[in-house]
């Protein structure tokens, strides 16, 4: 899976690249509009992450260029400005998703994966993690081929974990993923705890190992170790 990252802030761009790299993505980073324009015409990417404000151009034009050459790449725009207007505009001109800075890298990771899943219709619409099988078109979870009935938020939570395996996830990243930033953090953490408790219990009931580890003070990590 090839991902192009177009972001003028070097440290942030490299941070995104190394985070996505850990998940096995092949990442390429460009810091300017011109470089990005050249790359998208030369190579094919599965996903392009575009910052709207670039020193030598506007990210929107890259999105339009990608759409005009009928690129199959999924596009995620990121911006720190004009949150509402930029979001509407970028989705209008053909972005698949939009993130406002600052964002959690784990959130970006989850969005990229979800986007790639959605775009690859022909591929199997299933993900496997050990004894857990997820049919993401039907939004169904199976453990040892037995269906586990999860609530909407529990399903979203599990998908977030699956998208960010072996990565320490902060409570706020998880809460924001589930509810956006519209709810008070103290409340959202409480609800998050009870969702995690329920998720653990429902998975364990079907004989699933506990892959959710608590990290003191930070949050959780999902993985085999």
């Amino acid at each position: 899976m090839k991902v192009l990252i177009v972001e003028d802030e070097k440290i942030l761009a490299d941070g995104i690249a190394s985070h996505l790299g850990k998940d096995g993505f092949l990442t390429e980073v460009v810091y300017t509009y011109d470089d990005a324009a050249e790359k998208i015409h030369l190579y094919n990417y599965d996903c392009v992450i575009v910052d709207i404000n670039l020193p030598d151009g506007i990210g929107f034009n890259l999105v339009e260029a990608l759409r005009s050459i009928r690129s199959t790449a999924g596009i995620i725009t990121i911006s720190a400005r004009n949150a509402v207007e930029d979001k509407i505009k970028s989705l209008d001109i053909g972005s698949d998703d939009y993130l406002t800075k600052p964002f959690h890298l784990s959130e970006l990771n989850a969005r990229v994966k979800s986007l790639l899943r959605r775009r690859n219709f022909d591929a199997a619409n299933e993900i496997r993690f050990e004894e857990i099988r997820i049919n993401f078109n039907a939004r169904k979870i199976y453990v040892h081929d037995q269906e586990v009935l999860l609530s909407r938020k529990e399903y979203d939570l599990l998908m977030f974990f699956i998208s960010n395996q072996d990565i320490a996830l902060t409570k706020s990243a998880m809460a924001e993923h589930l509810w956006g930033d519209h709810i008070d953090s103290a409340d959202s953490f409480d609800i998050l705890y009870s969702h995690i408790k329920n998720l653990r219990k429902k998975l364990a009931d079907k004989g699933c190992n506990d892959y959710i580890q608590s990290i003191y003070g930070i949050g959780y990590k999902f993985g085999k170790t």
Binding site: I11, S18, K101, P102, I183, G217
Partner: protein, 420 residues
């Protein structure tokens, strides 16, 4: 009052005054001239009369038979009366009408007898002449004034046209379009000056506005970028396996604070943008249906906090507003009602009517006057994690869209009412 109506009014007022003065003085002058002429004629006749007396030694009335032109009345020895002119009315012999006459009286001696001689002259022709002249003059003057008035109206309209063009352009000036007015050069110097100063002014306003906008957005962008950097680094950092619990806690604190700073920045930016009236597109928005959507999204929170929710929709509350701001308005109000609710058995009651929206919730008493909660950074509990901008944003949205908003408290019942 309109400019043209005002100038027309002055014009008519002064025309009437001019008309009256000119007509009056003209009448007086003509009348004076006629009297002067008649009086001179009477004096000539006096000389004729005296000449007759000198020649003949007596007065023969039969010389004049057309009218009672000259009459003699015997008077005593009183000779003191000086010759004088009088206006008098006499009865016309034939038509039995009173006819105006000019009379010249003087004393004359004939055969040692003093007589008062009155020589009269009919004024009827002169009066007719006077009337005729006056009428002709007045008609001519009226026509002249009317023509002038008509010209004046036409000319004013033509002359002021550029002014009205400028005015209509100035009225339609919208600072959000990002540029000043472009106004043409006119034939009239003053209008050209007006246009050029308006052009300068509006360009300056548009530039200042754009600068302010850009500054706010750039500043916000410049703040968000380092925050994004810090966050990405913090996320990398917590992946490290060899960190001490204490260090983890510190990192978590840094993370929380950065997120808070970023939310603060976004809220302030939003506030500035509302204040700069950057959300200028309006749509008819059904606020009650947004509330229903939000309520279902927040269901989890309500059940978690044990808040019972009731939405009484008498009629949907519909306003004309930017849709994104309607969303912010509802979110902030509902979040506020949840955040400051009681810890157990809380209530949230929303009443939608055609012209008002009431969001009422139970909650602990206030330590600050209710209206102060609409101020920036004013919080009921200064130590709370909230930014203290939610209600300030609500208030700002309401004031931009001319909605009345009131915070009331009765017992443990807090209510915010928005009226159109």
């Amino acid at each position: 009052m309109k400019l043209l109506a005002r100038t027309n009014r002055y014009y008519i007022f002064f025309s009437i005054i001019t008309y009256a003065i000119v007509a009056g003085s003209f009448y007086i002058v003509v009348e004076y001239l006629i009297y002067k002429e008649v009086d001179e004629r009477l004096e000539v006749e006096r000389r004729d009369f005296e000449h007759f007396l000198e020649t003949h030694g007596y007065w023969d009335e039969s010389c004049y038979f057309v009218e009672d032109k000259i009459s003699l009345d015997a008077v005593g020895s009183d000779l003191s009366t000086a010759p004088s002119f009088h206006d008098t009315l006499m009865i016309n012999r034939y038509s039995n009408e009173l006819v105006p006459f000019r009379e010249y009286r003087f004393i004359n001696k004939m055969n040692n007898q003093s007589f008062r001689v009155s020589i009269r002259k009919s004024l009827i022709e002169s009066n007719e002449l006077l009337q005729f002249i006056t009428i002709v003059m007045l008609v001519a003057l009226s026509v002249g004034l009317l023509l002038l008035y008509w010209f004046q109206v036409r000319i004013s309209k033509t002359i002021w046209q550029p002014f009205y063009d400028t005015l209509s352009k100035a009225k339609s000036f919208d600072v959000n379009e990002g540029q000043g007015l472009t106004l043409p050069t006119e034939d009239i110097h003053e209008f050209t000056e007006l246009n050029s100063s308006l052009t300068k002014m509006t360009t300056k306003i548009a530039d200042d506005y754009r600068n302010l906008r850009e500054f706010t957005e750039n500043a916000s962008h410049e703040i968000q970028t380092p925050l994004a950097l810090i966050n990405s680094r913090v996320e990398e950092l917590i992946q490290a396996k060899d960190l001490h619990d204490q260090s983890m806690q510190w990192i978590q604190d840094i993370h929380e604070s950065t997120m808070r700073l970023s939310r603060l920045n976004q809220a302030l930016l939003l506030l500035a943008k509302i204040e700069n009236r950057q959300f200028h597109d309006k749509e008819t928005v059904n606020v009650s249906s947004i509330i229903n959507t939000k309520l279902s999204e927040m269901e989890e929170i309500f059940s978690h906090k044990g808040i019972s929710v009731e939405h009484r929709t008498d009629q949907p509350f519909v306003i004309s507003i930017h849709p994104a701001l309607a969303d912010v308005l509802v979110s902030n109000l509902l979040n506020n009602a949840v955040k400051h609710n009681l810890h157990s058995n809380g209530k949230l009651i929303i009443e939608s009517k055609a012209d008002s929206l009431v969001i009422a919730n139970t909650g602990p008493g206030l330590t600050v006057p209710p209206h102060e909660l609409f101020e920036r950074f004013r919080k009921q509990n200064p130590a709370s994690g909230s930014l203290g901008l939610g209600l300030a944003i609500v208030k700002k949205i309401c004031s931009v869209y001319h909605l009345d908003i009131v915070y009331e408290m009765k017992g443990d019942q807090h209510s915010i009412t928005i009226r159109t």
